[in-house]
């Protein structure tokens, strides 16, 4: 059925179609309309689930962990400070190997307070063992939520489905909402191999001595390796059912591209316009959109980027004291390539705290690099210049 939905609405419909059984959540802008939508669906009887309103995000995830440990399909949503408050349990959910799906609406971390988008909140959870999928459109959101359950339940790892604040969460688009019967065929009811059993009481996640801890961590890492293939397989299966296939990354006009622009989420939509215009002019530019960030598709990226002339990475995030996070990850993936195959890379940090990334910005980055005017490995884009960086770093106006 075609519906006009904003990104948050698309999340709610995806969760409904996946037949989540327990939703444990706490409101936070810009995520709130996701759980509002779900609360309405539950109260109207459109979704047969237990909706648990809690007093904090920490408890929201605790509720999901408990219900999932008992074998239920669960969901929660959050943003920024809320995700940060969950952090302890974010680790727990992954370590306990629970197939929880969480929607995180990317919102910049405070201070200063911001409700607008950037990716530092979700990327701060990079090393917790969760899978991360960055979405570009409401259509991709609804499709990805459903796929996330399928992948999570196969590899027994939780997934964060991530969407930009406002640019996606609150922008209405035309969306094809799948039929329930089709989704039911795609996503069977959850049957976890290891769950709470009242007949056999046990302490879950108990103390593990040094002689075994590492084994459990090795199993988690193997699950991530396995998940790379599962995401591709599930994305293809979804394509067979809906005509919309998904991969770990999306390639746009990369054939013959010597200048490759890499980014994630809604900035990719803006980039397409710029790439099209440059191609018109005869500049051999193309776009590589990152979709699944964990597990990280290093091999795939190496294959796609090997031999390109120049690679430009746009990061709506920053690992302070180093590069943009996507930039450093991609660079490390290319390390094994022979010199001739390894393209020089240029990173841009832009759009933090919801600052708009316009076509002109992307055009400026690409032309500057292509024409050799920009040679710095990392540049902050569209930001006030520092006359004296050492002074600017610490001075109080």
């Amino acid at each position: 059925m075609r519906m006009v939905l904003k990104g948050n609405g698309a999340v709610a419909h995806g969760v409904r179609l996946a037949r989540a059984q327990v939703i444990s959540a706490y409101p936070i802008t810009p995520q709130t309309s996701i759980i509002e939508g779900l609360a309405d669906m539950v109260s109207e009887g459109k979704l047969d689930a237990k909706f648990i309103k809690v007093e904090s995000e920490h408890s929201a995830l605790a509720g999901c962990i408990s219900a999932s440990s008992a074998g239920a399909r669960v969901f929660t949503a959050t943003s920024a400070q809320g995700l940060a408050l969950m952090h302890e349990l974010i680790h727990w959910a992954a370590g306990a190997r629970l197939p929880i799906v969480l929607a995180n609406v990317n919102r910049a971390m405070a201070p200063g307070w911001s409700i607008w988008t950037d990716q530092n909140d979700s990327l701060s959870q990079r090393d917790t063992g969760w899978m991360q999928v960055y979405c570009e459109s409401s259509q991709e959101v609804v499709d990805s939520v459903i796929q996330a359950y399928k992948v999570s339940e196969k590899v027994l790892l939780p997934t964060m489905v991530i969407l930009d604040a406002f640019f996606l969460s609150h922008t209405y688009e035309d969306v094809e909402v799948p039929e329930q019967s089709m989704v039911d065929g795609f996503l069977p009811p959850l049957d976890l191999p290891q769950k709470m059993d009242l007949e056999r009481p046990a302490a879950l996640g108990n103390l593990v001595f040094p002689d075994r801890y590492m084994e459990f961590r090795r199993k988690m890492d193997l699950a991530h390796d396995l998940a790379l293939g599962v995401w591709e397989e599930v994305g293809r299966e979804w394509g067979g059912l809906t005509g919309r296939s998904y991969g770990l990354v999306e390639e746009y006009r990369l054939e013959g591209a010597e200048l490759v622009f890499v980014t994630a989420a809604t900035a990719a939509s803006t980039a397409r316009v710029v790439i099209d215009a440059m191609r018109e002019e005869g500049i051999p530019a193309g776009l590589l959109r990152l979709r699944v960030f964990r597990p990280f598709p290093a091999e795939l990226l190496r294959g796609v980027l090997a031999g390109r002339k120049k690679v430009v990475v746009l990061d709506r995030n920053c690992s302070f004291g180093h590069h943009g996070i996507f930039h450093q990850e991609i660079k490390s993936a290319l390390y094994g390539l022979p010199d001739a195959q390894r393209p020089p890379m240029y990173g841009f940090i832009a759009g933090l705290g919801g600052r708009d990334i316009r076509p002109d910005d992307i055009d400026g980055m690409l032309r500057g690099v292509w024409e050799g005017r920009i040679t710095d490995p990392v540049s902050w884009w569209d930001v006030l210049e520092a006359k004296d960086p050492a002074r600017a770093a610490v001075v109080m106006a």
């Binding site: 027994l156 290891q194 302490a203 879950l204 084994e215």
Partner: protein, 568 residues
């Protein structure tokens, strides 16, 4: 099962789990506070002048153990069926259920339990005979309660009263539409079943002397109450159609139907005024109540005023009589002055002040005075009297050795319930005195759970409850005779509960301050350190494993658990 010596990763579960019990680790040494089950005083019992153990009894009713509850209620209270009809039930005013749908109908519950237990099998077991003898002067509620408790303690008790039958004001001052005499008779019969002798038509000081009693008994309790109306102090009040309210009421209640004027003024705002007005209405007289202050200051039980107004009785507030108007030999009117309220007086109520030039007449053919009562204390020796009251200290002892006192004439509690509570307490004092020959340091407290110890002397108000566990359930309507049917008969106005209704109502009780085995502590304890007692009520805390986290105390809906500091 976990493979103990895995060769491959596949031999391990997906994440760690353990089926070893947590009791392996003794976490009890971590704590600096220890939870314990401590009964506290619920807000209802805190306001009960008779000391009824309301929450425990209601918990029993809720479990369907209705007879147990009735037995508990009669532990020290001989008059639940009576009080369940005439008590002003202050307990309900601060019932914590008020915040969740309306106070529990404790008053109606007391009536239900009282009406269920007219069989001596419901009485507590009598202690072995002590050989001590106690005389009680006055067979009103204070005297009955004292006699009942002393008889239960094994003493030989005789009660003297100048009226033809025991009951005091319950018989001569409370009309049948509030308290059918059959109910009173059955409760008195229960007291008699314990061996208490009621010697009626015997006025101490006239038919028998106090010295005689002191010679024959080890202790004497004066529980005489108020039976004399005070005069109005206005011209014309010596007219034969000006009646003493207490005496007129007594005559009507004993079945007399005197020749009375068609319309009469009743002067006063207390229970006697209401009872006289409503009784006159029932025998065909049109009553007009005249009260010098406003409705707010009326000492009568508010429900009784409501009922009187529902029956259409005319009330004049802020009105004081100044003269009984007599023409020829007939009363034609009561002349009155309008009043306004000034500053509060020593009673705490605002003092009425006459409004000059406001005189007016209420046409009536007769007047009844009901402006307060006093006692006849001539039988007592001088040191035991203090003006119009019995001189008694907080231990119920008069300055004369062996003479104790309770009830309105001593303390002016003004309600049957206060009298029952005082009877109960004076019995405790006399029992101690007879046992050891010395007065106790202090009398038992007015409020308390008489049937079990309160380990932490604190009252549980709504702030101490965990509201997450309580949802609003509305209070039931108590059946009541329609006003039209009341006016012409002395049939009982208020109805009671069926057993089904009583159980449903008891289930609304929050059981404040007392464990009712809701099991929240059991479910929440993260150390599995709470266990059910075997073959006994309640739970035990395993101190070897309780680490004093306090979750059980936090999650106890009813403040039945407390954290106590551990001193090693």
């Amino acid at each position: 099962m976990v493979e103990l010596n895995p060769k491959f990763l596949e031999d391990l579960p997906i994440t760690s789990y353990s089926d070893n019990p947590t009791t392996l680790i003794k976490t009890g040494t971590w704590k600096y506070v220890q939870p314990s089950y401590d009964d506290k005083l619920p807000a209802c019992s805190n306001l009960c002048p008779a000391g009824n153990d309301i929450s425990k009894a209601l918990d029993l009713v809720a479990r369907g153990q209705v007879d147990e509850a009735a037995r508990l209620w009669r532990t020290g209270n001989p008059l639940p069926a009576t009080l369940g009809r005439v008590c002003p039930h202050p307990c309900e005013s601060e019932c914590n259920r008020n915040a969740f749908g309306g106070a529990i109908a404790i008053h109606t519950m007391e009536r239900f339990l009282g009406d269920r237990s007219f069989d001596p099998a419901f009485l507590p077991e009598k202690k072995p005979a002590t050989g001590k003898k106690v005389a009680v002067v006055g067979a009103g509620p204070a005297g009955i309660a004292a006699a009942y408790n002393l008889a239960l303690a094994g003493h030989d008790v005789e009660v003297f009263d100048d009226k033809p039958a025991p009951g005091g004001y319950l018989r001569t001052g409370i009309p049948d539409y509030r308290l059918p005499k059959e109910i009173l008779d059955r409760e008195i019969a229960l007291v008699e079943s314990l061996g208490v002798r009621f010697t009626c038509d015997t006025r101490v000081g006239r038919d028998v002397t106090l010295d005689d009693l002191r010679g024959r008994f080890d202790a004497v309790i004066a529980a005489v109450g108020f039976h004399r109306s005070r005069p109005l102090g206005v011209p014309g009040e010596d007219h034969p159609k000006v009646y003493n309210g207490v005496h007129l009421l007594e005559r009507i209640l004993l079945g007399e139907r005197p020749e009375l004027p068609a319309r009469m003024a009743i002067v006063g705002g207390g229970n006697t005024a209401m009872d006289v007005a409503r009784s006159l209405l029932r025998i065909g007289v049109e009553p007009v109540v005249v009260y010098r202050r406003s409705r707010l200051e009326m000492p009568a039980i508010p429900a009784e005023v409501d009922e009187a107004m529902a029956e259409g009785i005319e009330l004049h507030f802020l009105t004081a009589p100044s003269r009984v108007v007599v023409e020829g030999d007939r009363i034609t009117a009561l002349e009155c002055l309008k009043m306004r309220l000034g500053e509060p007086d020593e009673s705490g109520r605002r003092r009425p002040i006459p409004v000059e030039g406001s005189g007016f007449q209420i046409p009536v053919g007769g007047v009844v005075t009901a402006i307060g009562e006093s006692a006849d204390l001539d039988f007592l020796p001088e040191p035991a009297r203090e003006g119009w009251r019995i001189a008694a200290d907080s231990r119920f002892a008069t300055p004369v050795e062996g003479i104790f006192a309770a009830g309105d004439a001593a303390f002016g509690g003004g309600t049957v319930t206060a009298a029952v509570g005082e009877g109960r307490r004076v019995a405790a004092v006399v029992n101690a005195w007879l046992g050891g020959g010395e007065l106790p340091q202090e009398a038992p407290p007015v409020q308390g759970l008489w049937s079990r110890p309160v380990t932490i002397a604190r009252t549980v108000h709504v702030e101490q409850l965990n509201p997450a566990y309580f949802t609003e359930v509305p209070r039931p309507e108590i059946p009541e005779l329609p006003p039209e049917q009341r006016k012409t008969s002395f049939a009982e106005v208020m109805g009671g509960f069926t057993e089904e209704e009583a159980v449903a109502e008891a289930r609304r009780c929050l059981v404040c301050g007392t464990c009712n085995e809701c099991c929240n502590c059991l479910y929440f304890c993260p150390d599995v350190a709470i266990h059910r007692r075997e073959n006994a009520f309640g739970f035990e805390i395993d101190t070897e494993h309780c680490k004093g986290c306090g979750i059980c105390v936090e999650e106890c809906p009813r403040d039945a658990l407390s954290l106590v500091e551990v001193t090693s």
